[in-house]
Point group: C2
Chain length 440, copies 2
């Protein structure tokens, strides 16, 4: 019967069997020390002189997979490490069975390595505590995103990845050879979640989307995970923002509750959510930036990365909040389905959510009137015939609605202040890399 | 303040505001009757003679989106419909505000229509109760699949959809123009979940996969949702099957608990899970089929669809169970990473799970030894260089492990005995259709 390493401290004085990887081996002549690792943590083991396990133990190396029979001993007072998992016990190794061998590892698992090396050796580097922690946190984020929306009566659906047209005509799109036809990879589940408002009123999806932009910045990926929701019968974009704020608060609270240790190990403060996320129009934000940080901002049609950082700095100082909503982006800069503000149609009922200096979410109220949508498409030079499937939703009666998308990798990245969004994707794809570097 | 339609019976005698779609309008001269629909259900409304709402009410048609102010009246005894939602109340309509108009609907929403028409008008047909029920159930299936695995200590991860090679060389694969390179759409998250065993031991993903088979059967889709898990430190395939059985039992139990009404409306019996899912080797199953149903089965290398139906019929009769495990498929018929049985290497430690006559899951123990895996790839004519990323996981020590994949759409289909798997995909893709029929 296997004992998980996290449960060893409950078994003091007992004989147990653990299974896992050899994390570290230190041969000190008479004594051989090991750190063993399983999915629940690490423990130190020691082969004492004369142990029957000695011969096998001497053969083993890091990353060999073993089954170990041992006795859980309390460490002498002077050897205890109070702040470390299993720091007050040690496994006296009685028997080692080799389950699987490993070749020499390319570098020490916890070594500081550069980004390219990290991804070249991903099946190995994914095993490091630092990397695993990122994806443990990510699993919690996506789980709680869904849970929070379910509590708010949203229904999950599966959005398609392959689409028939380069619908929005904006983002660069990947082409697929689809039998004797051309298809495309979705740049957003937008149309499908709007269609789902007709069925469920409140719908969400966690979907892969694909961006063929020739960009190698620290914030772009070719394939990413988007967490999208869309809801009907809203008054305006503020209703959408309220749901999103609930979701983000839930995600942050649960992440901190479950993974306090991960934030601490990464020396990253818990995300601050303030009493309420501050909301500024783009113009208000720009005025604040000019006043507080100097330079020129008013008149820009979007937020520069530098301005995103500055408005977050301001919000943290004034509102004790790492999140800021920016609303009312110029209508012409947003997607055709964005709803113009009745009081000034040049501006849209749109918003971005910025977290620690990075836009992690974008949303808006949408046009719900069929004729208005057609007129808008024409004014943008879009061919309505190519949108006939999507337009059915509006032809057959669509309530006022809106929604937004959160980038899972960007949110993960900023939670832990990772230097590059690639570190927040388990298997990142970019212009130069799909698993391996692309060569031919 | 909006009242949801499901809560109206708590508001007898009160004035309320509901929002939703006009489901049906019946103009009876003096009286105009409506069925209104929102995300929580339906209710009958009536415009009485002399009502101020009359003029607006007369303009409206099915699928118009409205806000209705009304009074919740108890129906007279003779008009009550005990078995219907809100069958004992009626909304006396006081005011109707039109939120959104609709064009004439193409056909009655609950009409029996053929498959092609259903998908031609999907943004409309998704609104029918019958269709919504399918995707409500599907949302529960996928949620509980995840929940059950989390309770069993699995960690979720996001598997990639774009891959660098046509890895397994088996299933037909879609090509993607990837910047100046070629990429492919994943036919399975197999390699990635195996890599994740190295990190988390127990990992799962719900991933889109893509199959370019030129197949138009009732059980094939070009894009589908696969629910995959993989686990380390197993003894053999039976450990994987035990976890899967737990998951399926949880999914069935929660589905029945939450959606009793959907099974009843569809006149489909609740899936039977017996005391334990019966397990037969392929040979045993074939012998049973020959004995019980006649004909020839022994010697076939896989289960014919007809035989899958027969073994399920047998399992239901003898074990009161709609699920049957079949194990020990010929090694040469399974993927290269399948683990051969030590007692007879011609047969693999593999299994399928058949549900109501259809294979919904396939899995196995996997080869975990690096050298054995290389040898197996060579014997299959696979170029190990193309697998260098994947092979790192094995180079650096991999425990005995195994896993399996469940097709979400197939499981949904069989839960409700739908005649075609397309009905279990919200936005199905096949050779001829991506939303619209493909023309050019």
């Amino acid at each position: 019967m296997r004992t998980y390493i996290k449960d060893l401290e409950l078994k003091k004085g007992e004989e147990v069997i653990i299974k896992g990887w050899i994390d570290i081996r230190r041969d000190q002549g008479k004594l051989i020390f090991f750190d063993f690792r399983d999915m629940t943590g690490k423990v130190q083991g020691v082969v004492l002189p004369g142990s029957l396990a000695k011969e096998t133990a001497e053969k083993t190396r890091p990353e060999w997979v073993v089954e170990v029979k041992g006795k859980v001993n309390e460490r002498p007072e002077k050897n205890r490490q109070a702040d470390k998992q299993n720091g007050n016990i040690e496994l006296e190794i009685l028997e080692v069975t080799i389950l699987s061998q490993a070749q020499e590892v390319p570098f020490d698992m916890d070594a500081e390595i550069n980004l390219e090396t990290h991804f070249d050796y991903l099946p190995f580097t994914l095993r490091s505590e630092k990397t695993k922690d990122v994806f443990k946190l990510q699993a919690t984020i996506v789980e709680e995103y869904r849970e929070s929306l379910r509590r708010q009566n949203f229904t999950e659906f599966q959005a398609p990845a392959m689409v028939g047209g380069d619908a929005e005509g904006g983002a660069a799109v990947f082409k697929v050879e689809y039998f004797d036809h051309k298809a495309f990879l979705a740049t957003s589940p937008q149309f499908y979640k709007q269609i789902m408002v007709g069925a469920f009123e409140k719908a969400f999806t966690v979907a892969k989307i694909f961006r063929a932009e020739k960009s190698m910045t620290t914030r772009h990926l070719s394939e990413l995970t988007q967490m999208d929701f869309e809801m009907g019968f809203i008054k305006d974009h503020l209703d959408v923002m309220a749901v999103l704020e609930n979701v983000i608060r839930d995600v942050v609270n649960i992440s901190v509750e479950k993974h306090k240790d991960i934030f601490e190990k990464n020396a990253v403060p818990f995300p601050k959510v303030g009493k309420k996320f501050p909301i500024f129009t783009l113009l208000e934000a720009q005025e604040i930036i000019e006043k507080e940080f100097g330079g020129k901002a008013v008149g820009e049609l979007d937020m520069e990365p530098e301005h995103e950082r500055q408005i977050c700095e301001y919000a943290l100082r004034e509102f004790d909040c790492d999140f800021v909503f920016i609303t009312h982006f110029p209508t012409k800069k947003r997607a055709f389905y964005s709803y113009a503000d009745e009081t000034n149609p040049e501006l849209s009922k749109s918003f971005d959510l910025i977290f620690r200096g990075l836009e992690i979410n974008s949303g808006s109220q949408r046009i719900h009137d069929y004729n208005e949508l057609i007129a808008k498409m024409k004014s943008r030079g879009l061919d309505e015939k190519k949108f006939s499937f999507y337009l059915q939703a509006f032809k057959y009666g669509m309530p006022p609605h809106g929604g937004c998308s959160t980038g899972l990798e960007r949110l993960t990245m900023k939670m832990l202040n990772l230097p590059n969004v690639r570190y927040a994707s388990a298997f990142p794809r970019d212009m130069n890399r799909i698993d391996n570097l692309l060569s031919e």
